[in-house]
């Protein structure tokens, strides 16, 4: 049935009805074009937001302390809550939802960085090596802080690129000593933030243990940056936050609901919530797109019905001289599949092409600078989606041809040959 003849038969009917075939095909092409543009736009929005999340690991969570705002366990309100090194040990060993932990001890705000005659005031992030992954810190040259630095209380520092420019100008900073406060630190690396969160280029990273010891921290910890295990729902993410708060409230005697005693922000909750929105948008896009496609398919079906009606006599002749119902069905069905698939494929290519073009434009704009705040990134459709769209096309072609082909198969030669 897939020989040259049946295709020749189909092409000869298509050739006879060029305009009609074009209009029918256009409705299908338009449907799939819109589907691709909508899906691409949805992806673009979603990717744009994902980039914003990409500043940090999506499962990162920050915790900080303050003063209690309600009495608890016979203790008055207004009491200061302080994290300490034991909390770090607890989080790393006892807390099963928490994967990585980095403590931070704040240095005085007015602390000065100096190298030779150059000096300036910069933010200091005291941390554990795991912060690199949690906050997606990008190392330009040298290395980041490691476990050995922390164990041996080494006076080493990783400086942001802005700090490097301010203090070293063109000089290579690696191995040089800068003064933080009055203490000399060996520069082991330079970090450079990509595109977004460029504020981090004005940050320096020093080992937490070193900072605590040199700047008289005792066992005081100001904030924790942690990553939790990945979960799929906001409820689970909230539960993780809640569990950590309860653990901490037991350790420090404050009401777990007291947001001022201990503050926390779980990125994962926001991430899941946002992704849910995009899933909904994606679903919506598919519904709209499929709806448009169905309109196209109904068009094809309609045309095929008219075609069968017009060809009743021809089908009757064919049947009289020996065409089986199967061969008649395949004639109509294949024509329908051909029209939808070819037209749909054209729409698909044009839709994907347009989105690639938009993507190209966006990338050019971003490369030219000022593309920092794009809320729209890589608005393209992936290969898998295109494949499923193609399958949908072939299927819908068959669907569109089904009723008309049944009608064609039911043509009786006697009646067909009777109408002159």
């Amino acid at each position: 049935m897939f020989d040259v003849d049946i295709w020749q038969e189909i092409f000869s009917t298509i050739k006879k009805n060029k305009l009609r075939t074009f209009l029918t095909g256009f409705s299908v092409a338009w449907g799939i074009f819109m589907l691709m543009v909508l899906l691409g736009s949805g992806n673009g929005l979603s990717n744009g937001v994902k980039v914003q999340f990409a500043e940090n690991a999506v499962n990162v969570m920050w915790m900080w302390t303050g003063e209690t705002s309600v009495p608890y366990n016979g203790l008055k309100e207004g009491r200061e809550v302080k994290f300490n090194n034991q909390d770090y040990d607890f989080l790393t060993t006892k807390s099963k939802d928490i994967e990585k932990v980095s403590s931070r001890y704040y240095l005085p705000n007015d602390i000065l960085y100096a190298y030779g005659k150059e000096y300036g005031s910069f933010e200091t992030s005291t941390c554990y090596p795991s912060l690199k992954e949690m906050e997606n810190i990008n190392i330009k040259t040298g290395r980041f802080i490691n476990d050995m630095d922390l164990r041996e209380f080494r006076k080493v520092v990783v400086i942001g690129d802005e700090i490097r420019k301010a203090l070293f100008k063109e000089e290579d900073p690696i191995g040089k000593y800068i003064k933080i406060g009055d203490v000399p630190f060996n520069v082991i690396g330079v970090s450079e933030a990509k595109r977004r969160n460029q504020d981090n280029n004005r940050s320096a990273y020093i080992p937490f243990t070193t900072a605590q010891r040199i700047f008289n921290g005792g066992d005081r910890v100001h904030t924790f940056t942690v990553t939790s295990k990945m979960v799929q729902t906001t409820e689970e993410a909230e539960a993780i936050t809640e569990k950590v708060r309860q653990d901490m409230s037991k350790r420090h005697n404050f009401d777990p609901a007291d947001k001022r005693a201990m503050g926390s922000f779980n990125m994962l909750t926001e991430y899941i919530r946002t992704m849910k929105i995009f899933q909904a948008i994606n679903l919506f896009v598919w519904i709209i797109g499929i709806g448009t496609l169905i309109a196209g398919i109904v068009g094809v079906s309609n045309i095929m019905l008219i075609l069968v009606k017009e060809r009743t006599k021809e089908i009757g002749i064919r049947k009289a001289i020996g065409a089986t119902p199967f061969s008649v069905v395949s004639l109509v069905l294949l024509e329908s599949v051909l029209i939808t698939t070819v037209a749909g494929y054209i729409g698909l290519v044009m839709g994907v092409g347009l989105m690639e073009l938009v993507n190209f434009g966006l990338e050019q704009a971003a490369a030219a600078g000022g593309g920092d705040n794009v809320f729209f990134k890589n608005p393209t459709v992936d290969f898998g989606t295109a494949v499923s769209a193609t399958l949908i096309l072939i299927l819908s072609g068959a669907l569109a041809g089904y009723l008309p082909s049944r009608k064609a198969a039911n043509v009786t030669p006697i009646e067909a040959l009777r109408d002159e």
Binding site: D5, I321, G322, A323, T324, F326, T412
Partner: protein, 237 residues
């Protein structure tokens, strides 16, 4: 070749039942050249449809070449038609967007004969009917007589046992009609049974046996020798 006993056929439309064939008996031997006549409503179209396996019947027996034609599904009927019967119609019924050769080759397409081979055979048949030069013309570019010859070639190409011709000369002038009848006679001379439905007496008179239907049964059969008398009688009418 054809053996029909006590054939009944009614058409039911709503509450009305129209009894067309009322216990018809008919024997046609292999190689006969027969015409079926009858006034409109006598059941000749219905009989032709049943003979051509285009329609089924209600009661009775129909043996075609020794095989009982009964309860066939559409696919079986199509295969039977393709193998046993060649159709010729009043309005030629060629497919308008196919050229003469492709039209002639079509029955072989449904026998799954490959394209090259069937076009070659089609050319042979067209040549035999003197239409070789017209092989690549569309039906719309041909005269009525030519179209009917193409249709005859198409009917012959599958080597049928029977040619069923429904008013084959109805759309042709008398000269062309005679040419077509000559061709059918040649076909018959090769041993193929030819059955013609017609209402034209002079066409019927060119066959060897005339079957006159009347009210759904055989009214009269006039065979070879009687034909001369029949002609005389017609002249008197």
């Amino acid at each position: 070749m054809i053996s029909i006993q006590n054939l009944h056929k009614s058409y039911v439309t709503g509450n009305n039942s129209l009894h067309v064939l009322k216990g018809l008996n008919l024997e046609i031997a292999e190689g006969e050249f027969v015409s079926i006549m009858g006034s409109s409503g006598s059941g000749k179209s219905t009989l032709l449809n049943i003979l051509g396996v285009l329609d089924d019947y209600d009661k009775g027996n129909y043996y075609l070449s020794g095989k009982k034609i009964w309860g066939l599904n559409e696919t079986q009927a199509a295969i039977t038609r393709n193998a046993m019967i060649g159709f010729i119609f009043q309005s030629f019924n060629l497919i308008s967007f196919k050229n003469a050769m492709e039209n002639v080759a079509l029955p072989l397409y449904y026998q799954k004969v490959n394209r090259k081979k069937r076009n070659l055979i089609a050319m042979e048949y067209l040549d035999r009917l003197g239409l070789k030069d017209w092989a690549h013309h569309l039906p719309s570019e041909m005269s009525g007589g030519q179209k009917q010859r193409v249709a005859i070639a198409r009917a012959l190409i599958s080597n049928p046992k029977i040619i069923l011709a429904d008013e084959p000369t109805g759309a042709l002038d008398s000269q062309t009609s005679l040419e077509v009848m000559d061709i059918l006679k040649e076909v018959n001379d090769q041993g193929i049974t030819v059955i013609i439905v017609t209402h034209e007496h002079d066409i019927a008179a060119l066959t060897r046996k005339i079957i006159r239907l009347k009210d759904g049964v055989i009214g009269e059969i006039i065979t070879n020798g009687d034909l001369q008398n029949y002609r005389d009688r017609l002249k008197q009418e």
